[in-house]
Amino acid sequence: MSAAPTRVHAAVTLLIACTVFAAAPVRAEIRAGSKQFTESVILGEMATQLIGHTAIPVTHRAELGGTRTLWGALLAGDIDIYPEYTGTIVQEILADHSLTDANAIRAALAAHDVRMSAPLGFNNSYAVGMRRVRADQLNIRKLSDLVSHPKLHFGFSSEFMDRADGWPGLARQYGLPQTDVRGLDHDLAYRGLEAGEIDATDLYATDAEIHYYDLVVLEDDRDYFPAYDAVWLYRAGLTEQAPRSLSALRRLEGRVSQSEMTAMNARVKLDGVPAARVAADFLKREFGFEARLELPSATDDFFRYTREHLLLVLSSLSAAVLVAIPLGIVAARKPRFGQAILSITGIIQTIPALALLVFMIPLLGIGAAPAIVALFLYSLLPIVRNTYTGLRGIPPQLTESAVALGLPATSRLRLVELPLAMPTILAGIKTSAVINIGTATLGALIGAGGYGQPILTGIRLDDIGLILQGAIPAAMLALLVQGAFELGERWLAPKGLRLSASRR
């Protein structure tokens, strides 16, 4: 997080100048990234510790989200390396099915200035799993057996639902007739299976839960799923910039077996051992070195999350106030232009938060900056709308009186119109602030940290306690801000208006 202030500064620059630019920061530090699931986090930890062992400064931007986020961050230079799977590279990143061997993949990646290591050893292919009891009952062993059971309920991870090598292709290849197919979080899918709400879900071949929930992995009898060999993807620049760290990473090539990876996933997910510890134990066993481990205390974590969350909320909200009030004023003054402003801010509000966050990555990379810009955009509408409504709601005879007195337009705004609209404007800012605090938890998906971080990790590890460590402070903060605004209204809203309101 050492670079957070420069990122924030970049965000502010963008807000003020409305100019989009993203320059790769010059830095000696290496950044490893990982996706929002346990195995990726363990591998990301391994990369971090392997590089750290060579005394090169390194940080781990853990749990950044999905493939798009990580790939975007790698291209933008926000991270230098992350663990990926060959199947994902071919199907999803390059979207070129003609790439069948490693050399062809390497050549295609080179066009993006990205390199790929040799496989780390295990193949974490996609698979479809069912509970053993249910599969036995219906006598299902292979994927092609599913064809004769059209009434089955499927729950697939959102990524599997969407991606080219996921459900759509699977359904086509096997001619699967099921219609009740829902997208849900991978970790929630296991609970759905256990509760009997869904009959089958997508799995990764190294998932810890396969044994835990007693699942059957259905045989891919028509060879639909491609190989998902784990590899490192890294920026080509790393070869010159940090050759030693690269050779440290490559020590892992061919060293991690499928059973070892499954066991490590199980330790983190089922036994609650921190991913960093599990990664360190593996490296010690395999290479005999003691990794430096600094596991922060729960209090440290809490203060860091609070600091990060407040940074997201305060900077995005104050920028929104500075921009939205003038926009609301313009909207109230120029009806036609005003409709355009209200429509545009309204449309921004309808963009799903996750999509907006991902849109920001090519422009601003990962971390606090894109999250702040996204939150800023979300905070505009309530403030713009309430400023507009507050100004338009001023009784015409008051405006007329102000004009007739001889006050010019700007003084009229300052002395009469804004004070009269102030209670409504404040209510808009309050709404924005409360929404902002909730939405900011999603910032963790693109590396902005905050209270969303323990929530994400908690969902990944199926750890309610951890989820609450993020959810409760976020809710408390929202209540606190709401209370603060209600107090603030006492002295910010003109006294005469409060008297009028209480007599109405």
Binding site: Q397, L398, S401, A404, G406, L415, P419, G496
Partner: protein, 255 residues
């Protein structure tokens, strides 16, 4: 009351020539020619929709004429000079138009503060006006919502008079008051107008009130001036059947 002598033509404060104003399709004022004399009280009267309020608003350029010209002291009123000239015109609307976020005192002194009068000058002027309008000094700290209807009109009048304007425009200033307060305030207002010798233009729909205040009554109907003269002239020689009917409808309150 007796009508004053007709002043020479160059003493006209407002001079309207060929003024027309539409609201969408409907005509609010149709080719109005009118001069308003200095130091006289002119009352604009007519049924609702006759254009009397529109005419009053044209005088401070709260609205602009579609065609025709409005001269204020021989100067063409435009968007550019309206802001400055408005400081020489006081304006009082029906409900007072007081700003609810400011107390009575701050409402009254808003413009003086904007023009950076010093505090002693402001205090002296507020003192004069409170005396003139019989407004209790302890009421100045109250907010409009804490004042009675009659008190609000007094504050509104003080605000309009603060910069000592040459002209006072009033849009049904007593319309929202109950009859007793209205009667008292009518007498006070007339005393104030006569004492100040300002040019006053007032809008009302009540013929007895018009007769009580006016040197000149201007009777409007459907955007046109039907008759102009003193109450006596209107009663003695109504210009047409409409004037006769208008007078007859309000006769009981006049005699």
């Amino acid at each position: 009351m007796s009508r004053r002598e007709i002043p020479p033509a160059d003493a006209a404060v407002f001079e309207l020539a060929g003024v027309t104003r539409h609201y969408g399709e409907s005509v609010a004022l149709a080719r109005i020619d009118l001069s308003i004399e200095k130091a006289c009280t002119t009352v604009l009267i007519g049924p609702s929709g006759s254009g009397k309020s529109t005419l009053l608003r044209l005088l401070v350029r709260l609205i602009a004429p579609d065609t025709g010209t409005v001269l204020f002291e021989n100067q063409l009123l435009t968007n550019d000079n309206a802001g400055y000239l408005r400081q020489r015109i006081g304006f009082v609307v029906q409900e007072g138009g007081l700003f609810p976020h400011l107390n009575a005192h701050d409402n009254v002194v808003l413009m003086a503060r904007y023009l950076r009068w010093n505090t002693s000058r402001i205090a002296a002027r507020v003192g004069e006006l409170a005396e003139l309008t019989h407004f209790p000094a302890d009421g100045l700290r109250r907010f409009p919502v804490e004042l009675s209807g009659g008190q609000r009109q007094r504050v509104s009048l003080m605000r309009a008079l603060m910069l000592d304007p040459d002209v006072l425009l009033l849009d049904e200033p007593l319309g929202a008051l109950d009859p007793m307060i209205r009667f008292d305030l009518q007498n006070e207002l007339r005393d104030i107008f006569q004492g100040l010798k300002k040019t006053v233009v007032m809008v009302t729909h009540d013929l007895s009130e018009a007769g009580f205040f006016a040197d000149t009554i201007v009777l409007l109907r459907e955007g046109r001036i039907v008759q102009r003269g003193s109450l006596t002239e209107l009663l003695r020689a109504p210009a047409d059947a409409f004037v006769e009917q208008f007078i007859r409808a309000q006769r009981s309150s006049i005699v």
